[in-house]
């Protein structure tokens, strides 16, 4: 019988993990609502630029591969916990955050480009819903960057303990979830918008 991993050893640790999974259920409802709004308003472009005119596949591909790889590397961080390998933990977490920064950099540039081309939050229903859906995801990633830095500092100072392992595992659930949401954004906002 396999012993329980460090991050869910005690009662409090496994309660925190369950609580976070429930939170992710709520986030599925949240992003589901944002998708419903986007899909309802996607064709309401008024006199503003359309998604087909605005979207650039290159930027989307960089964002997608950056986030997808960062989801892989955060998994390596969790694996490093199981191996009690602090150096691997720190390295892979730094790589994850770097990839997250690349994602955000491309996305922010993308937003600035849209605004420059006359497509703002205020231009049309389609653009309002596009910016809020992408922006909510991006805000979640941004929050995740700060959270990840906090975990980096805490693990650097305290080492891999039950507390830091538990927090890191929960952080990894959050980071994976953001990648799942991105998969749906990539498929049903960008690709769908470009082939539409």
């Amino acid at each position: 019988m396999k012993s329980k991993p460090l991050y869910s050893l005690g009662e409090e640790s496994s309660n925190r993990i369950l609580g976070f999974w429930l939170f992710l259920g709520a986030e599925i409802a949240l992003f589901g609502t944002l998708f419903a709004v986007y899909l309802t308003l996607a064709n309401n472009t008024g006199s503003a630029p359309t998604q087909k005119e605005l979207f650039e596949m290159n930027g989307v591909m960089i964002e997608t591969f950056a986030l997808l790889t960062s989801s892989f590397t955060i998994g390596l961080v969790v694996n490093a916990i199981k191996l009690n390998h602090k150096k691997a933990f720190m390295s892979f977490l730094i790589i994850t955050l770097a990839l997250g920064a690349i994602f955000l950099g491309v996305e922010i540039t993308e937003f600035f480009t849209y605004v420059h081309e006359g497509a703002t939050l205020q231009s049309s229903g389609a653009l309002s819903s596009l910016f809020v859906l992408l922006g909510t995801h991006g805000a979640h990633v941004t929050f995740g960057m700060f959270w990840g830095i906090a975990i980096l500092i805490q693990t650097y100072r305290e080492g891999i303990t039950e507390t830091t392992a538990n927090k890191t595992f929960i952080y990894s659930l959050y980071w994976h979830f953001l990648d799942v949401v991105w998969i749906f954004i990539f498929s049903f906002v960008y690709v769908k918008g470009l082939i539409g």
């Binding site: 329980k4 259920g25 409802a29 609502t33 998708f35 591969f65 989801s71 892989f72 690709v191 769908k192």
Partner: protein, 93 residues
Amino acid sequence: MSALFPKQQVVGFIQSLVLTIIALSVYFLDIPYSISLIILIVTALLQGGLQLIVFMHMGENEDKSVLYLNLGYAIFVAVTIVFGTLWTLLWGW
């Protein structure tokens, strides 16, 4: 060194890359719209499932039945909201 890159995670990563490329192909290969949508739905669901089971260790959790129930309910609510809204406000008659 290889212990740092567990086989399951690496295989999962490669599988997600493949699924992403398949999804991208509907754009690059100009696949007809309805087939494209089906491909996108299938690849998205498969990748989502991959993340949940392989990366997020859903099946290894001691509370996994609660987790599956939670996920099921969440998907039910999200699907209802998306298709309920589209049907009520756009498609319905």
